[in-house]
Amino acid sequence: MIQALRISAIAIACLMFVAGLAASIWAIAGNPLPESLPQLLSENMSRSGVEHPVTAVLLNFRSYDTLLEIGVLVIAGIAGISMAKTTSLEDPELRTSDSLLYALQRWFVPLMLVLAGYLLWAGADRPGGAFQAGAVLAATGVLMRLGGIPMEFIRPGLLLRLGLALGFTVFLLVALASAIGGDAFLAYPPAMAKTLIVVIESVLTLSIAMVLLALFVSAPVNDAEDPEEGGSS
């Protein structure tokens, strides 16, 4: 009874929230826009080193966002593997003997690898880029994993940590180098902008795939525990 009341109260509150939000959106949609960022963006595109505006925003104009965002991803990866089983990753239960999946995977894996490569390559002047490519790569890995293909490199060892750190490190090194050589943190020299962005994107693709895969794989958990300070001892 109380539960039902509570749920209906929350429902009403959410409805009111939606109504208010919609009203604000409606009102805002009617107001003129004081500033046009897209125009400013297109004026500066030539200095960005790439053709595709979204990539330009992500990896040049607002590259600090992207740097931190990769940080977020790496954090999630770290937090994930901190809970992974450290001894053995090969949980026999995870091996599926599903023949359909196996067949699927035989066909899909190479296809997806190609797709990832294409997405990465396309990123500079067409839709696509590191995130999409990384995601596809990770998905490939997941598929392989589900199919029971052993992937030793995902074991939480130095290799995995190196992989996690790789993309981020390169990005950071570029940022630092730009601070040393150029005039600001993360400011690429215009001549090298394209090269740098492509390099960054490639390593990011690897790293993103690695992190996502690590998070997927580390889901089986270990039993090791710390005594709790705040617990009920």
Partner: protein, 106 residues
């Protein structure tokens, strides 16, 4: 009324739905689903609203791309936590608090 605005309004509705889900559902994975629905709603508003007047705008699109990656990171982390929590306690919700209630319940 333009198509982007329609999507923005739909985004508002999805936000409300997600909020409702986050507050009312007790199973942790469902909460996570609700979070993702709400996130999608926010992203729709983010892209739809500015494009209502100005046409395609790469800036919010890039922001949403960042947002999606952050969301997947958070989701993946949450899944790991939920699975470990389940592994250790056998629970899938946060409601029943068997311990940690002494003295300081609210």
């Amino acid at each position: 009324m333009t198509a982007p605005l329609l999507y923005a309004l739909a985004g508002a509705l999805l936000c409300g739905l997600g909020l409702f889900g986050l507050l009312c559902l007790s199973h942790l994975l469902r909460k996570l689903l609700a979070f993702n629905v709400m996130g999608s709603g926010v992203f729709l508003v983010m892209v739809g609203l500015p494009q209502h007047q100005g046409g395609p705008d790469p800036v919010p699109q890039a922001l949403v791309l960042t947002g999606i990656v952050v969301a997947i990171a958070a989701t993946a982390l949450a899944v790991v936590l939920i699975r470990r929590y389940y592994h250790l306690s056998g629970l899938t919700t946060l409601d029943a608090e068997p311990t940690s209630r002494e003295g300081g319940q609210e």
